[in-house]
């Protein structure tokens, strides 16, 4: 799997309350989650997420298990999230909905182009390739299928 996008830089320990606050969760309208994404962190972020690669600090997605956080990021048009480490529930959630969560240490420059090739195992920024931690074979299959729903549709 390959992809690219402009970098949006975030700090470490971004919790899922900051991605989408608890007060917006009680709806099935995914658009509501996109409308309020990162509102408590930086309301101006939302406008920069289309086609973006989020490059965050360690422990991205900590806190609540709310899958709405991963869904909101995907639906906002984010291509992938790169961080040195993820909170494990967010990590599973992201892969399960087909959003690449890539474990890689990368110095982030806002707006720089970031390319990735998960099969080859690298992330590239400013002409330099960085190795990534590979997914387990099962998670690779789930991500390749576009998420766990599609995976189970193909493995009934």
């Amino acid at each position: 799997m390959q992809g690219s996008g402009h970098a949006v830089c975030l700090g470490p320990d971004i919790d899922t309350d900051l991605v989408i606050a608890g007060r917006y969760l009680r709806t099935k309208d995914h658009g509501q989650w996109v409308a309020h994404i990162f509102e408590d962190l930086d309301p101006s972020l939302a406008s920069r997420l289309g086609g973006a690669v989020i490059v965050a600090g360690k422990n991205f997605g900590c806190g609540s298990s709310r899958e709405q956080a991963a869904i909101a990021i995907r639906e906002a048009g984010v291509v992938a999230v790169i961080a040195p480490s993820f909170a494990r529930i967010f990590f599973r959630n992201a892969i399960n909905i087909g959003l690449p969560a890539i474990e890689c240490s990368l110095t982030c420059t806002e707006g720089q182009m970031v390319n990735f090739d998960l099969t080859a195992g690298w992330v590239e920024a400013e002409g330099k390739k960085h190795p990534i931690r590979s997914l387990s074979p099962r998670m690779q299959e789930i991500l390749a299928a576009g998420g766990l729903v599609n995976y189970w549709m193909a493995h009934p």
């Binding site: 360690k58 609540s64 909170a87 189970w152």
Partner: protein
């Protein structure tokens, strides 16, 4: 020689296993999305409804018609499909699962990050999101990466004024918000046997605040006696010598009252460093500190006095509330000026029933103090029950008696 996680999952750390799930549970928050996703998976098959639980706790009773409609749909589905349902007022999912449902050695998965709480029984209990849970509804199993374990070695016994919560904040502070990432925390040593089940549930509850997959105690005589009272005869788990990837040691007699300050659970200071900080609200409750022993401890401090700030007490379950009613703890709390909420999560997640206003400060016995979590512009400090009680009487952060 194996860690408890390795023993339960039947494989060494680092391996990936597919394992049957003995109990799987959702709440009204994650259940709606689980149901929607399960329907998308097409087959509309449920693996075994007797192992699947739906427990209403996050926004109970419903705060508006949108929530009510979503809850109605989930409730209808749970009833018509014969899932194990606990409706509004039953209490917090983790608490109900701890009242004689989860047993030692079981594999338990909850669609909530604090599902790690059930590791207090020597079960392997982890949180997942809605899509993983939907697949568990479908198949009855899921995949696990068998975690490496961090040993939390306990000696001594807690002294007056200190609680399991103070120890929990202490270990979170030492490990940091990601110091336990992908690992299991195992609480072992002579000090563990001085802690009752309610204390153990506090300690495993906060394990996820270090990024850990779960926290576990070995089932011992205390576990056996606790579960016997709920009608379950179980055997203790005998620890084997094993290798931890990291070891932390705590002498319980050294633990002093601590407070986590905004907006990080791992930013922890002794209560005495914050003494005198004015507060607007005290909140007693949640899957961390909403049990009967917590309400009773709070009542012992405030009985015959009046709280100086608004104080919201939300029992963790109907059983907790019923016991508080029978023993007179409830009237002590009411007479002291406390407000009692419906058993459930209360204002912990900022949805309703006690959210904070701009600039307000809450001293809470919950487990998270993230920015804006309990209301936009509100500040959350996390403490033990004894610290919260002493502070409620003074209207400012105050060291508990005996500290």
């Amino acid at each position: 020689m194996s860690t408890l996680s390795e023993r339960i999952l039947g494989a060494p750390s680092g391996e990936y296993v597919d394992h049957k799930v003995d109990r799987a549970y959702v709440h009204d928050g994650t259940g709606v999305l689980t149901l929607e996703t399960w329907k998308q998976m097409g087959s509309l098959r449920l693996s075994d409804a007797s192992r699947l639980y739906v427990l209403f706790d996050h926004i109970v009773p419903a705060n508006n018609s949108t929530t009510a409609t979503l809850q109605h749909e989930l409730r209808d589905f749970a009833t018509s499909s014969f899932l194990q349902l606990s409706d509004i007022g039953g209490g917090i999912c983790h608490q109900i699962m701890s009242e004689g449902v989860v047993l030692p050695g079981e594999v338990v998965v909850g669609a909530d990050s604090h599902s790690c709480t059930l590791g207090a029984f020597g079960a392997f209990a982890i949180g997942v999101g809605a899509t993983d849970m939907a697949a568990i509804w479908l198949t009855g199993e899921t995949w696990f990466r068998v975690p490496e374990s961090i040993g939390i070695h306990l000696t001594g016994a807690l002294q007056d004024g200190a609680e399991a919560k103070d120890l929990a904040l202490s270990y979170v502070s030492k490990l940091g918000m990601d110091g336990g990432s992908y690992c299991a925390l195992e609480f072992v040593g002579d000090g563990a046997s001085t802690l009752g089940m309610e204390d153990r549930l506090v300690l495993t509850n906060l394990s996820v605040e270090t990024g850990a997959k779960t926290g576990l105690f070995y089932a011992d005589e205390i576990t056996v006696r606790y579960l016997a009272r709920t009608g379950h005869m179980v055997q203790p788990q005998v620890p084997e010598s094993c290798t931890y990837i990291r070891d932390l040691e705590f002498d319980l007699s050294d633990i002093v009252p601590m407070v986590a300050v905004p907006h990080r659970v791992d930013t922890v200071k002794p209560v005495q460093d914050l003494a005198g900080l004015p507060i607007d609200q005290v909140f007693i409750g949640t899957c961390t500190n909403g049990r009967y022993s917590d309400l009773a401890r709070f009542a012992r401090v405030v009985k015959g006095k009046k709280v100086a700030v608004r104080t919201i007490i939300v029992p963790a379950s109907r059983s907790v509330l019923t016991e508080a009613l029978k023993t007179g703890v409830l009237s002590d709390l009411l007479e002291a000026g406390c407000t009692i909420g419906t058993p459930g999560c209360g204002p912990c997640l900022g949805a309703h029933m006690g959210v904070l206003g701009e600039g307000e400060v809450c001293l809470s016995t919950a487990n998270r103090n993230f920015k804006n979590r309990m209301g936009i512009g509100g500040e959350i400090y996390l403490s033990s029950v004894a610290t919260a009680a002493a502070s409620a009487l003074e209207g400012e952060i105050t060291e508990p008696e005996g500290a």
